[in-house]
Assembly symmetry: C2
Homo-oligomer: 560 residues x 2
């Protein structure tokens, strides 16, 4: 059989990366990264509002051409590559990153006269301007439609689809009125490649719909008009212009349109896989399967697992989402996360210790010399709130147990340990609600570079920690989805499972738990949970301490 | 009237300082500091036991000559000074710093054949080897003689007289057997100058006896033989060889003996004031009087107040001590303290931020720009345990409220604020039990150098913070005591109050509370007390959190 190649395109926060992958073995033949030219490393900011984070859709289009062209050109230097043997393209993006579009599915931000209207741009996942709207959606759903919250952990986030659109309606009504529809970035890019011009015809992935827009087969689609009308009647009207169905990646989003085929020099009509979130396709590229938890460890962490749809998985309180088909077709996709992991360590190194990147290695080396528990320290990993279990963005950090001899390396270790306890709390919650976790696969720079971090996680979780073979699992996962969309006959694969078997791998390094360390960490984890429950406001724990961090923030707001 | 001068000699942890002072106005004519030559900056350490801290009595004797001689030589450069017009000498020292002596009141450590026997040396105040003994004394007293604990806050410390002597008996019985008696450093130095050779004849100050040795007029002296026999019958035997009475500074400890008069070139027979602790004489030198709290702010803090003996002062739970006559004759002397203040800031600057001395000023300048409450941070000042209120050396530090943006200057400020909340807790406790606190006078380098620190204290306490005029209040207080011992006829003063009126002063700088800041700090102090009570194990607060820090230390011990 002739070789076949697919392209995975990964839209991150600061850049877009394309890879050309061999469907036979997952080998990467070409890679290219395009840094978004707009704003601060691709993010449009508002000096008056630190919560605002937008992106320029023009950057997405420039980057689509540049990254794919670059990756294909690099692949052409390999003797066995031919452009004609590219059999599909897959796309993953950040999310929820919705953008308002016109009747031709053109982003409003591309209109010259709307230049500078930040509400017309893409509302980047980490835009937190819609905190009020999120709280009101949560409150309304709790009262009138609690079923909407059950699959998404019980709390609707300011980062998500409806919060942002409602925010736009409230602060930039002219933009809201001008928008015929709103499209998630994960659906927009495949639609561009497929030449889809009608917003209603855009294939919507269940990944964005189910995790961020309260979409479910259980209530035939998006939230009811009656519910949306409680928020604002105009949102109820918008519902008609959005979509009725969303799909897992068991079908393509479309086929490569002639214009883009010409631009990219790739075969017209090859399948464009259904879009998906970076974390979800990252899990695919890391070899997610039943019993495997994939941890994508970066500034924050995304934890992905799947479970058979026929199994006994229930909605898990405090877990961001359980959606049928969201990570891989035929499974529940389960997504959780920690709101800061790498960011906490970077905070300590850069902001407190005023060090540079090298200091991570130095502090890790020093911290590796201590036995578990030897510092007497305990920390809570909440410097950026708590995303999973407590689902409370207003919680803050805590370090306890300092003496006059406590070193910065000991605190660095305590912060790593705190994130590991947070990770364990998520695993325990998943297992408690029927999601099996038998092995943990990690991806991301920290997993590849920081052995102390990985060993602590193995010791705290009491499970081996594996490292995904690819350093670019989201792009690889998108390429896998493209290989499945292409199908076996075209040189791709019949199923995700078959594609993963050929195209994914693990690094040789794996971190085994040490029994003695695990025993100490069992005890320390108990202490962590006491603080977690007391300061997290878990009923019956800690009394008034459960509101203490919030009261300090209240004082802070009045003081500021 | 001819001018008259007194000498104050201040035995610190690393050096001894002498000052020559004019009795008319407190002016310092000469100063000399002698650094102890032995050990690590004067402290003998044991690499196997971090709790051990001893001193070489030989250093004390060398330093007595060197410091006084140096100060007098410097004074001689002043036109109005004459050696013949020196009318008295006063001494203050660290404490409890007991040393074992022979039948001639010679320290055992001076015997060449005991060289290197660390138990034979002076047991420095900060020696913590006797933790077990202290706990057993507390336990025994709680059961059989709770009255002994009432005036010393309810807990007997490992730093104190009986703990150390009992420890010596247990770990170095030969030294214990060889000791005819034990003398506090504060009593030993005056005895040396007075030529007192019989341990039973050494004048014992009530300052050391009452605060550290459970001495009280209420039970006619030291603890009963029956009580001591419960600890060890040999301690009961020792009681006979100690002392029956201890005295306030309303009488001299003796008169300058010929040998030392010749050595120092000072008039034979001038009065040697009763010895006292550095903090107590520091309070005298800072102008302590009814309604004035003197805070001696250094690595740790000592808070001293006095109250009329006829008033309604009761024993204050959690306050280190209330002793009739201990700070000034005719008053109750009340002593409290915080186990780390400057030390916590130094820990942050040196150990965590890896900065030098200059960084204190830099962080203070940055921290001064924030409004109270604006950081959202809250800390507990327990990096070295809690000395007053909770009286628990095994408590540890806590910092809470960190975000990813929290800076090291904000944490520096939060640590200052934590010590201020700790200070307020002490003031509130004193006032609650009848000790009036109408003004606060601070001494020490931090008080003189760090305006932010002082302003925060004024704002947290809601009271003006004054700064003592002398940078060496303990030595000045000892010189004042000498002036009172000399008496008015000799050019000294009739009473401590009269001497203070002439010889002490305040700096012009004073820090007034800002009403708006005080209001915010009132609220923050409430939050501090919640954490204080929860983690301090106050009954009814925090449940299991009250033991959490101790459980971490338990894990730490097993891990180490």
């Amino acid at each position: 059989m002739k070789p076949a190649f697919t392209i995975g395109v990964d839209y991150g926060t600061n850049s877009v990366r394309a890879v050309v992958v061999d469907c036979a073995d997952g080998r990467v033949l070409g890679t290219s990264v395009f840094d978004y030219p707009s704003g601060d490393h691709g993010v449009l900011l508002d000096p008056r509002d630190p919560h605002l984070a937008r992106q320029n859709p023009g950057d997405y289009l420039l980057g689509l051409d540049a990254s794919i062209s670059g990756a294909v050109e690099e692949a052409e230097r390999q003797p066995d590559f031919e452009r004609a043997r590219v059999v599909g393209i897959g796309v993953d993006t950040t999310g929820s990153t919705p953008l308002p579009v016109d009747e031709d599915c053109q982003p409003l931000a591309l209109y010259p006269r709307l230049h500078g209207e930040l509400a017309a741009y893409a509302w980047l996942w980490k835009d937190h301007t819609a905190a009020e709207e999120a709280a009101a959606i949560t409150e309304t759903a709790r009262r009138h439609a609690p079923e909407y919250l059950a699959p998404i952990g019980g709390t609707y986030s300011s980062e998500w689809f409806w919060s942002k659109i409602w925010r736009c309606l409230r602060v930039a009504p002219a933009i809201f009125e001008r928008a015929v529809s709103w499209v998630e970035l994960a659906d927009y890019i495949p639609a561009v490649l497929a030449g889809t011009k009608d917003p209603k015809a855009v294939m919507r992935c269940v990944c964005a719909a189910g995790h961020k827009a309260m979409y479910s087969d259980a209530w035939q689609g998006l939230p009811s008009k009656a519910f949306l009308a409680r928020l604002d009647p105009k949102l109820a009207d918008l519902r008609d212009r959005l979509y009725d169905r969303a799909y897992p990646a068991d079908r393509p989003a479309g086929r490569l349109v002639k214009a883009w085929a010409d631009t990219l020099g790739l075969p017209q009509g090859i399948p464009i896989a259904m879009g998906g979130f970076d974390a979800h396709y990252g899990a695919v590229g890391a070899g997610v399967r039943t019993g495997t938890l994939v941890k994508i460890i970066g500034t924050s962490t995304c934890d992905c697992a799947i479970a058979p749809t026929g199994g006994d998985v229930r909605n898990v309180p405090g877990i961001c989402g359980i959606v049928n088909g969201s990570i891989m077709p035929g499974y529940y996709g389960i997504e959780a996360g920690q709101s800061a992991v790498g960011d906490i360590l970077r905070w300590w190194v850069e902001r407190v210790c005023q060090g540079r990147d090298e200091l991570h290695a130095e502090l890790s080396a020093e911290a590796a010399r201590f036995a578990p528990g030897a510092s007497g320290l305990m920390a809570l990993d909440w410097n950026n709130g708590n995303r999973t279990i407590l689902v409370d963005p207003k919680l803050t950090g805590l370090v306890l147990g300092q003496t006059l001899h406590t070193t910065r390396a000991e605190i660095y270790r305590a912060l790593i340990e705190a994130t590991a306890y947070g990770a364990r709390a998520i695993v325990e919650r998943m297992v408690e609600y029927g999601v099996p976790v038998e092995r943990v696969v990690c991806c991301g720079g920290i997993a590849e570079k920081n052995d102390l971090f990985m060993q602590i996680y193995a010791d705290v979780l009491g499970q081996p920690m594996l490292v995904a073979g690819s350093p670019q699992t989201p792009a690889l996962g998108a390429a896998i989805s493209a290989a499945v969309a292409a199908g076996e006959a075209a040189g791709g694969h019949a199923t995700f499972e078959a594609a993963q078997a050929k195209m994914t791998s693990m690094k040789d390094t794996r971190f085994e738990p040490n029994a003695a360390a695990h025993a100490v960490y069992d005890e320390l984890y108990g202490v962590y949970r006491e603080l977690h429950d007391a300061f997290g406001g878990v009923a019956g724990a800690g009394g008034d301490l459960g509101t203490l961090m919030k009261r300090l923030l209240g004082i802070r707001e009045r003081a500021g």
